[in-house]
Subunit: 353 residues, 2 copies
DNA sequence: TTGAAAGCGCTAACAT
DNA sequence: ATGTTAGCGCTTTCAA
């Protein structure tokens, strides 16, 4: 390169982007002016604007936001941690959060915890190292949440969604899991059912335990004894469901209805019922695509993940805008969507046996 | 604060995070040492490590990655743009990409284009301004793609998924849409069908047009005339499907089978068939949850979004690791999953009328 | 309206 | 093994 002949070879610097300095040089102005143009400040002459834009175009300049973030301290980014971005519920929440983030011209960093507290911790700390402006978190059960306190103290805003923190004092958006489950089970009881099976996720999960509690409350209120034989709590994958359902059906006093604790569970129960060639009344928690396409349509207790995301982001941005009022918990109500499967009466089920 | 009495008030600097300088001061070492400890370099004494870690703990220090990124030029981040993160297909792709990103200790920025070229452009340029190491892109139809060339020239690696670029010379992962569709339609023809309806997405979309082409190829090969009356191409939402399906069914020579161009379409067609209280043989493109729970199970031409994400990331990381060989296009084969709906013979359908 | 210059927090080269 | 320092690319005073 510098062959010693005193000539300075101005390399094209492949694979290295032009900086404002480069643009300034080409445009024949100072970097300050370039910065003003790039950020659309008002006090720049038309001439300068034109010259700078031409240089930008020519060099393919794109502002380096790392430098900008370092300087200004604002990253215009939000971190979202959910259980699984591919889960129908969380993917809808994801999209909803994205819309709000876009509205503020920020970017969204996403991650799936896969229900693993360590993975969650790692991702959250990574987000914090990137200095996200705020965090939307579905924290998996069973891990320590103390490490979040340091982030909170350092001024990182966060809002919990889908389940509340154990100790932390942060904004939270949840749904009325217990009340929703109770409504669903009451609905079945209203159609004469007294033997109602319950298929849910692991009961150490907040949402599952709340829904089981709602199930029990409805039974109790109706004076129906709780029978642990009718509860199965690892229903999130398909295979484990067939056997316990079969056992229940083969018992002396088989169920005539089933309450399914979430969308995956509903699907698994429907499949298992198919296997056992039986039909029971069924009400599921969570709506899902195709719930109205199977016959009969599946009656569900629906959540609104879109609203959840919107509300969470609204709360978060209020904090980012300086609100320091006490933290809030917003509890969204569920909605019973009647489609047929939940309106199969006890008599009808028994008659078909 | 500085009350003029010569005393320097060392404020607690609330809402402003500790820096390496702070940590160095508290630990009684230099910033270089702090940096070495934070980054796990080898040549540091046990003493220093302990002192630094204690200070980090006490101050709640977390490295500012904006500064690190500015300095090193590496952002350890990948940008993913899909049509909609809440779509069952793309959400699975999203998760798959996330796993690969996690494996490299990077973070993932995600965005939905919502099929809007302008929104796509905005998000991609934002990602570029953040200096993502690489981009995984499903570019919406109908927009200019030239702006990507500047990014490519600047050294940003990218891989297209789900549909190929029009002009750009970049790595691409797609599925054999045409061949898959042909296989699906041939399957129906094999069961005696000669009047096969086709419900798809807008034909200006790459995947839809390829699938329609596959549909036509299968017909042609079997000597079945193509009838535009049997094709409906805006089947992505529910309502528009009912009417054209009804019209086809009421015609002189109604279809006995239907090929559905994607998962949403399949669901809509199933719903519409329910409305019209008819059953036809059906094969859909894309697998979906519940495809095996409805009766009969839905026979589908399945893609593998997980594999797509893995392969895309493998290609991307090879580029990031310095591979400069010519760009590749990987075409994944589809898989026909037989579940019953596609094996309803023409005779059976006619007999039921 | 504009250019010059300080400095955001970090890494890495250099000196010790 | 460790402290010091230059500088990454930007924004933002400050002075002109």
């Amino acid at each position: 390169m510098d062959a010693g002949d005193g000539l300075r070879v101005v390399a094209e610097r492949p694979n290295s982007r032009a900086t404002m300095k480069d643009v300034a040089r080409v445009a024949g102005v100072g970097v300050g002016t370039v910065s003003r143009v790039v950020n659309g400040k008002s006090n720049v002459s038309e001439e300068s604007i034109a010259a700078v834009n031409a240089a930008i175009e020519r060099l393919g300049f794109r502002r380096n936001d790392s430098a900008r973030m370092l300087k200004t301290g604002a990253t215009a980014s939000i971190g979202l941690l959910v259980e699984d971005v591919a889960d129908p519920f969380f993917s809808l929440l994801n999209r909803s959060v994205e819309e709000e983030v876009l509205r503020r011209d920020s970017v969204l960093l996403t991650a799936s915890s896969d229900k693993d507290p360590n993975r969650a911790r790692k991702m959250i700390l990574t987000f914090c190292a990137r200095r996200v402006d705020g965090l939307v978190i579905t924290l998996p059960e069973g891990g320590d949440e103390e490490y979040l306190r340091a982030e909170l103290d350092a001024g990182t805003s966060m809002v919990f969604v889908d389940r509340p923190p154990r100790e932390l004092d942060v904004d939270t958006v949840i749904v009325d899991n217990r009340g929703g489950a109770r409504t669903g089970v009451e609905h079945l009881i209203g159609y004469g059912h007294r033997r109602i099976a319950c298929f849910t996720d692991r009961p150490d999960l907040y949402t599952a335990s709340e829904r089981i509690a709602g199930y029990r409350e409805a039974l109790e209120e109706a004076g129906i004894p709780f029978d642990p034989e009718l509860v199965f709590s690892s229903a999130t994958t398909r295979e484990p469901v067939d056997e316990p359902l079969g056992r229940m059906l083969a018992s002396d006093d088989p169920p005539t209805a089933v309450f399914a604790g979430n969308n995956r569970t509903s699907i698994n129960v429907i499949g298992a019922l198919r296997i056992h060639n039986t039909s029971l009344a069924i009400v599921g928690f969570d709506d899902f695509e195709l719930a109205d396409v199977v016959v009969p349509g599946i009656t569900v207790v629906a959540q609104d993940p879109k609203a959840m995301g919107q509300i969470a982001m609204r709360m978060l941005y209020k904090r980012l805008d300086g609100d320091v009022s006490p933290s809030q918990t917003v509890t969204l109500n569920t909605r019973l969507i009647v489609r047929g499967s939940g309106e199969l009466s006890r008599d009808a089920v028994l008659a078909a046996r």
